[in-house]
Symmetry: C2
DNA sequence: GAGCTTATTGATCAAGTGATCAACTGGCTC
DNA sequence: GAGCCAGTTGATCACTTGATCAATAAGCTC
């Protein structure tokens, strides 16, 4: 046998922990939150289940952390994208387009899993609450900013944020089961938002005809 | 020992099958669809897991059947209740009140479980599709009836039915996690329905002030 | 290059899952 | 009351899960 360094072994603790976290996210996206297993992660990385257990003593906590990581990463990315837009109306339009766009089913299924599994995993249930609050806070800030700028008028930004998020989540849940694409239902969210914000019809419609 | 007939044994096959189905429904409502287990059912009835397996050779199929039974029973009950109402507007109002009323979380959690578990259980996934179609068909019929009676105007009853169901499902999903009560969000559905049907504002509001 | 810190392994446990099958027995029929 | 059909049991298999622990070995420091 040659001296092939076939396996790069013995990574740093920090590196390995990051690798485990990343692998858990991949598994959650592809196969669901409850496909996260000591053995599924270990097999994917090429190590022993005991090693995963060493870095993540509680699998339940790892599931909760993984969900929070996926949901939080999406919110962070959207926050970044929207911050470049000049007006709140454009930001709201982009938000609707993104959250009801194609290739969203991966994140949506993770949310569906979280709502379901959260009943058996207390840490996950708490994380779901945290992420929902974070989304609502983000949308409230967006609505208040637009209101302060005089772009539109909002009576109760907190309640409206919950309503818009509920509609979006409902549409996406249906899309996962039925057509795999929620774009056809964007008009519903646009109409509700325009109506509640006192915007003229079509104000949130896509730019190009 | 006395001759106490402590256990009523040896039921009819039909009786036992019904008992198993009923027990599976109870477990699904209280502890979720994936708490349905040969042993959980058997323990609750007081028989051997093998007996449950005898009547239900496939647990996956039993889970799918149980979901269909719960969802179908609710639709049947609501259909019955609404059929007594004289107008379609009143029926729509009652539908919204019921589907976003208290004590709905049990059924909502079963739906959440079904959306999540359906990815691993093909039979369940198909049943979810069937039940969603049944609900949509029911609502389409309600909308078309009201339109034919001249109570309101509906452009695309099929699309509107999906939209209203998506909103209701989204609100209920949020309610399961957050406040446990979706009544505060009823106005959203009412407003959307009134707007889309050309009804005056408040037409779907509760009768009493 | 000795020694030590720490990443990593292999083995193993207890619990829980669906499923199968021969054996038992309750209760009805003739 | 003998016999038989069908409901029921107990034992058991193969598999998956999370978790623990002593033992190993890699790689850095001195």
């Amino acid at each position: 046998m040659s001296t092939l360094p076939s396996r790069t072994k013995r990574r740093t603790g920090v590196e390995r922990a990051a690798e485990i976290a990343r692998t858990a996210r991949e598994i959650a996206r592809y196969d669901g939150l409850d496909a996260i297993t000591l053995r599924s992660i270990a097999a994917r990385i090429g190590v022993t289940p005991a090693l995963v257990s060493h870095y993540e003593p509680s699998t339940e906590a790892l599931v909760a952390k993984t969900f929070g990581s996926i949901a939080g990463a999406e919110l962070a990315e959207i926050t970044r994208e929207l911050s470049a837009l000049p007006s709140s109306v454009e930001a709201l339009r982009a938000l609707i387009d993104t959250l009801l766009g194609p290739d969203r089913s991966a994140v949506t299924t993770v949310w569906l899993d979280a709502w379901s599994v959260g009943r058996r995993n207390i840490a996950l249930a708490r994380e779901v609450g945290v992420q929902m609050d974070a989304w609502q806070a983000f949308l409230v800030a967006l609505l208040n900013r637009g209101s302060a700028r005089g772009e539109f008028a909002v009576a109760d930004s907190g309640a409206l944020a919950w309503q818009l998020l509920a509609i979006i989540d409902g549409i996406n849940a249906h899309a996962v089961v039925r057509y795999g694409d929620a774009r056809g239902q964007r008009d519903l969210v646009r109409t509700v938002a325009e109506h509640e914000l006192g915007l003229p019809a079509g104000a949130l419609a896509p730019a190009s005809a």
